[in-house]
Amino acid sequence: MKISDLEEKARRIRQQVLETALTGGKGHVPPAMSWVDIGVALYHGGVLRHRPDEPSWAQRDRFLLSKGHGCLTLYALLADRGFFPQAELETFVQEGSRLAGHPDPEIPGVEMISGSLGHGLGIGAGLALGARYDAEAWRVFTLLGDGECHEGSVWEAATFAGHHGLSNLIAIVDRNGLCSTDFTENVVGLEPVADRWRVLGWDVLEIDGHDLAGLVETLGRLDARMADRPLVIIAHTTKGRGVSFMEGSPLWHHRMPRGDEIARARAELAGRV
């Protein structure tokens, strides 16, 4: 897919995220918006090996959304790829729906239950260990929130993966600078983020998490990487990306747009502003 097509895809995924949340009457819209471009690069940019009609295909790359509250983007991506019908998005958080406010493996294409933070990197390390033991070529991608990196279990897992040189494990940190109510650096500082991973034995790349050309190029070259270390990609992003009044604001974590905000958000995502 051409970069301009991927950009258009990302715009439509953002629209879907908003509409799904509006239909359900709730949802974490800004944390979903921040990783849309990363998700589009993974699922539409030819990075993740996957089969929507065979979600449990043994050779698939495993994608773990460790920041489970960003699931509106995952749902939109999985529906768009055909893991489940697009119409099912309208059932989001409705009683009996598979699509709850945080994801679980009942949903085709979802590998783990997440919503409680700090689990995905450890599970990912275990998956990567199993793949290496079996000499399998599939890889593990784990998307972490930066606020999630306040969890101690993240660093237990990072230390373990670095020690064992799990080169088939790729962590992506959605570094939007915000946790739930404030900027991470105001709450408990995480900087220097890259150094933290590096000293634990990880290769570190820092990229613009909204630059689809850069994302596809970086993620597309992973197989050529000669490495005996796990890789972390620190993706610099903007929480709420695409809706100006949500962008980078501590007010916007799981707040829902109301009144005029809805029309404004729709217009901005449609490119009319």
Binding site: D104, P105, E111, M112, I113, S116, G118, H119, L121, G122, I123, G124, A125, G126, L127, A128, L129, G130, A131, Y133, D134, G152, S153, E156, A157, T159, F160
Partner: protein, 322 residues
């Protein structure tokens, strides 16, 4: 065969791991002779993850999701409470075969203080859908728990006691039903688990000298329980006493109370446990026997008290309503 349940468990595990390259043993830096043999003979299937129990369980779950059976080994209190959420979400919600082998059931490490007391975990783990909880009373049962849990390919915890009592069962005993009748009698039933089974047997022996004959049930699988069979056994008994070296909350006594609550003809029931408290400082099994009635004399007294009450139905009814 050694009477030490740790030997039985690691012998059984050695057998499993030698025959199945898709089994792993992971530990939080906990050693044992049986662990050393596995590390030496099947090193590719052994991992010391260091003192990081949350990550240990997450890694075990991920590894198990690639088609491996992952046994974990550590101290019971640390391997259940510290990583409870990982057990809940990464292991049980995914339904992957992560099987905990954990030392320090009850007051095995009583002198080491409350951090090492294994007296809260049954309540914790019984609350996890899909979890199996084994609490063997002797080495033969303990070895069988490894084989049974391996066959199920489901989440499990096997609690290990430090005691090495005489074997309760013959070689080749079928343990698949999760409970064993050790003696039978018409006057009541003592349901026990783990080390308390031996105290219950001793109490039953003492009672028999006064022509009081009680059934003793070893409930070594606390989840899942064959509730139909358990209810039938309770229904056949005028009095029920449960004994466990565990907190009053969530363990065997709670399990029996849940079962009895659904019976129309509830028997008189008494629950012997460690109560609901921190046992600060150094404590021991002998202390618990004396002060919390967990020994043969305490069990015997509980049976006699209930039999007296059962003989006075009107008072007993009034008390129950109150």
């Amino acid at each position: 065969m050694s009477n030490d349940p740790r030997d039985a468990v690691f012998d059984a595990l050695y057998e499993v791991m030698s025959n199945d390259r898709n089994t792993f043993l992971v530990t939080n830096d906990m050693g044992a002779m049986g662990v050393d043999r596995i590390r030496k003979d099947v090193p590719a299937q052994f991992l010391n993850l260091g003192i990081a129990e949350q990550n240990l369980i997450s890694v075990a779950a991920g590894l198990a999701a690639t088609g491996k059976t992952v046994f974990t080994f550590g101290i019971l209190s640390h391997m259940t409470a510290r990583c409870y959420e990982q057990l809940r979400l990464d292991v049980c919600a995914l339904g992957v075969p992560v099987i905990g082998i954990a030392s320090g059931a009850g007051l095995s490490y009583g002198v080491d203080g409350p951090t090492h007391h294994g007296i809260y975990d049954i309540g914790l783990l019984r609350g996890l859908p899909g979890m199996q909880v084994f609490n063997p009373a002797d080495a033969r049962t303990a070895g069988a728990c490894v084989e049974m849990s391996y066959r199920t390919q489901r989440p499990a915890l096997i609690r290990l006691d430090k005691e090495a009592p005489d074997s309760l069962y013959e070689t080749g005993t079928d343990f698949s039903d999760g409970m064993k009748l050790l003696r039978t009698g018409p006057d009541g039933i003592v349901v026990a688990t783990g080390c308390s089974v031996h105290r219950a047997l001793e109490a039953a022996e003492r009672l028999s000298r006064d022509d009081i004959h009680v059934t003793v049930l070893d409930l070594f699988r606390l989840k899942p329980v064959d509730e139909t069979r358990l209810s039938a056994l309770l229904r056949a008994s005028p009095v029920v006493v449960s004994v466990e070296e565990h907190s009053r909350v969530g363990g065997l006594g709670s399990l029996l109370a849940e079962t009895i609550a659904e019976m129309d003809d509830a028997p008189n029931f008494h629950h012997i446990s460690l109560g609901d408290e921190f046992l600060l400082g150094s404590t021991s099994r002998a202390w618990a026997e004396e002060h919390r009635c967990l020994g043969p004399q305490g069990i015997e007294a509980a049976v006699r008290t209930l039999l007296d009450r059962a003989a006075q139905p009107r008072r007993s009814q009034a008390r129950r309503v109150a």
